[in-house]
Each structure stands twice: as C-alpha cells, then as structure tokens.
C-alpha cells in the first residue's frame, strides 16, 4: 500500500473511525514511515487544539421563546388536517350511503301507480297495445339486477295486473 493510501486512513484513525484490525496496521506503518508519522502527529495536535476551543453557550432567551411560540402556534394547526380529512371522509361516506339507499328505493318511489279507471273495451284494447309497444320499445337488452330492469319489470307487472283486473270485471 502506498503512503497516500495510508494517509487516507490517518484521518479515520485520528477521529476514531478506523476499524480495530486496520488501526494496528496503520500504527505499524507510521512507526516505520516518517512522512505518515508526521501527518498523524500533526492531525492529532490540531484535533486536540480544535477540541479545546471554547464553545458558545446557547442562543439568547428571546430566540428560544420565539421558536417555542412558533412551535406551539404551528402545532395547533397540525391536528386540523387530520380532523378535516376525517370529517370529509365521514361526510362522503354518509353521502354515498344515502345515494345507494335512495338509488335502490328509487324505482318503487319514482314510479307512479297506474290509476284505476272504469274498464272499457277500448281501454282494454289500448292496454294490450301499450304492453305490446312497451315490450317492443325495449331495444336494449334488459340486464337482470340493473335498476332499469326492475323498473321495467315493475311497470310491466302493473300493466298486466290492470289487464287481468279488467278482464275479471267483464
């Protein structure tokens, strides 16, 4: 290993970051190399002198108070986003629930019952026509389980009942 490579390790040795097994190797080398020995001694001396430099005490009380005040003010704001998120999530959940419930009930609520009228032959004929048109008008396939499926089934049932009732009365 060249002196330059050994010197790269000297800093680690001085600052106690060199692994134990490499430490012994370096110490052995410095004992036989004047240049590396000098550098190690110089770095140790500077390190010791730097360590003796007086340390500043803390910042003024005013600075500490400003920071503490800011920390308290900011902290009061921190819980809000979480609470706000929770509140929004709750509102969203309730809204979705209402829409779903309302959506499922909508076919029964939205459909106006077919009012009963005195049956007439013309009416019966008309009803038959209506049913025929209704079933023919369904160009798109009815998907079981969809809202439109239940709505159409309901309407059809109502119409059939009317026809049946009117037939009974004759």
């Amino acid at each position: 290993m060249s002196c330059e490579e050994w010197k790269e390790r000297i800093v680690l040795l001085v600052y106690e970051e060199l692994p134990e097994e490499k430490k012994d190797e370096l110490v052995r080398h410095t004992s036989s190399c004047t240049s590396c020995e000098e550098e190690l001694a110089a770095f140790r001396e500077i390190h010791a002198r730097l360590a003796c430099l007086p340390e500043a005490d803390g910042p003024s009380q005013g600075i500490s108070e400003t920071i503490a005040r800011e920390a308290r003010q900011r902290r009061r704001l921190f819980p809000w986003p979480a609470l706000l998120r929770l509140a929004l999530a709750s509102v969203l959940l309730v809204t979705v629930g209402i829409v779903l419930i309302h959506g499922h009930r909508q076919p029964t609520r939205a459909l106006t019952p077919i009012t009963w009228e005195e049956p007439k032959t013309a009416d019966l004929h008309n009803l038959h026509e209506q049913i025929r048109e209704f079933t023919q008008s369904k160009s798109e396939p009815l998907v079981e389980g969809s809202l439109s499926f239940y709505r159409d089934a309901y309407l059809l049932e109502q119409k059939m009942r009317n026809v049946s009732h009117q037939l009974d009365t004759f």
């Binding site: 790269e8 110089a42 770095f43 340390e55 910042p59 800011e70 920390a71």
Partner: protein, 173 residues
C-alpha cells in the same frame, strides 16, 4: 441520545404535546448554536441562522419521516443556510469579515486557530466543524453535506493540512 428518541419526541409533539418539542429543542440547542457560531464567527448572524433553521424545521415536521435522522435533517438545513449566508456575505462585502488579515501574533492561541479555520475553503471548514463541534461521523457528514464519504474524508484531510500550513506560517512570524 438516540434518533429513536427524537422520533418519539416528534410524534408526541405532532400529537399535541408541546413539552416534547421543548425537549427536542433542548437536545440540539447548544450543539447547533455552537456549531453555527463556529461556522459564521458572528453571534448575531448565528442567532439569525439558528432561528431560521428551527422555524423551517417546525414547518417541515408534519412531513418528517423517520427514515432520515432528525439530527441530520437539522444540520442539513443549517448547513444550507450557512452556505447561503457565506455567499451573501461575500457578495455584499467582497470577502468575509473574518478573511481580513489581522496580525496573528496579537491574538490568543484560540483566536488564532479560529481565524486560521476561516481561511480554509468553506467545504473543508464545514466538514471540520461538523466533525469537531457537532460530533458527526464521516458517513453522517456525507449525508448532511450531500457528498460521498470519500469526498468528506478528502475535505477533512485537506482541511487539516491547510490548517497546519497556515498555523505553521503564522508561528514562523
């Protein structure tokens, strides 16, 4: 003090415990301030930078992730502010006030050493201060200053060599 403890204090602070922040502040108050004074050699400027560092940290804390040590984050922010301040100082005044050559013999040993440190390149100075006065390892210094560990080691070595050279010249006067 472990970084784990710092993380607990931060979590407690964010959950509403103001005293947790006070504890965190007390842990780093002197270490950071001392390091800043050494870096800028001006107590007033050090106080400004110290306050700005903590204000930025407070604003950042809600996004803090324990993947990075709090001490690294704190000194990284402070290090950037120091570099900006040095840059601004150079721009405003041409040179750092401490770069003005004064008669070294008229100063005490510690003043002479502090002055000598101010004469070495700022990157080398930063590594020396982070190691000597903030107690970071070279891998931590690399993370804080955003360089590789080899660069951090190289800066330290050349910083110490430059320091030795300056001190030798002054001692020869």
């Amino acid at each position: 003090m472990s970084s784990n403890d710092d993380d607990i204090l931060i979590q407690n602070y964010l959950s509403g415990d103001d005293r947790a922040f006070d504890d965190l502040y007390q842990r780093y108050r002197r270490r950071l301030f001392s390091w800043l004074v050494k870096c800028v050699q001006d107590r007033r400027l050090a106080e400004e930078l110290f306050q700005e560092t903590f204000l930025r940290i407070i604003r950042f804390l809600p996004q803090y992730k324990p993947q990075e040590k709090f001490s690294h984050l704190l000194f990284r922010v402070a290090h950037r502010l120091v570099l900006d301040a040095v840059r601004k100082n150079k721009k405003d005044r041409g040179v750092l006030s401490l770069m003005d050559v004064t008669e070294p013999a008229a100063k005490s040993e510690s003043q002479g050493l502090e002055e000598a440190i101010q004469r070495i390149p700022k990157e080398q100075r930063a590594v020396i201060f982070l190691s000597e006065y903030a107690g970071f390892t070279f891998s931590e210094i690399a993370r804080i200053t955003g360089c590789s560990i080899n660069t951090a080691l190289g800066r330290m070595r050349y910083g110490l060599l430059n320091l030795r050279k300056i001190l030798k010249e002054w001692e020869a006067i």
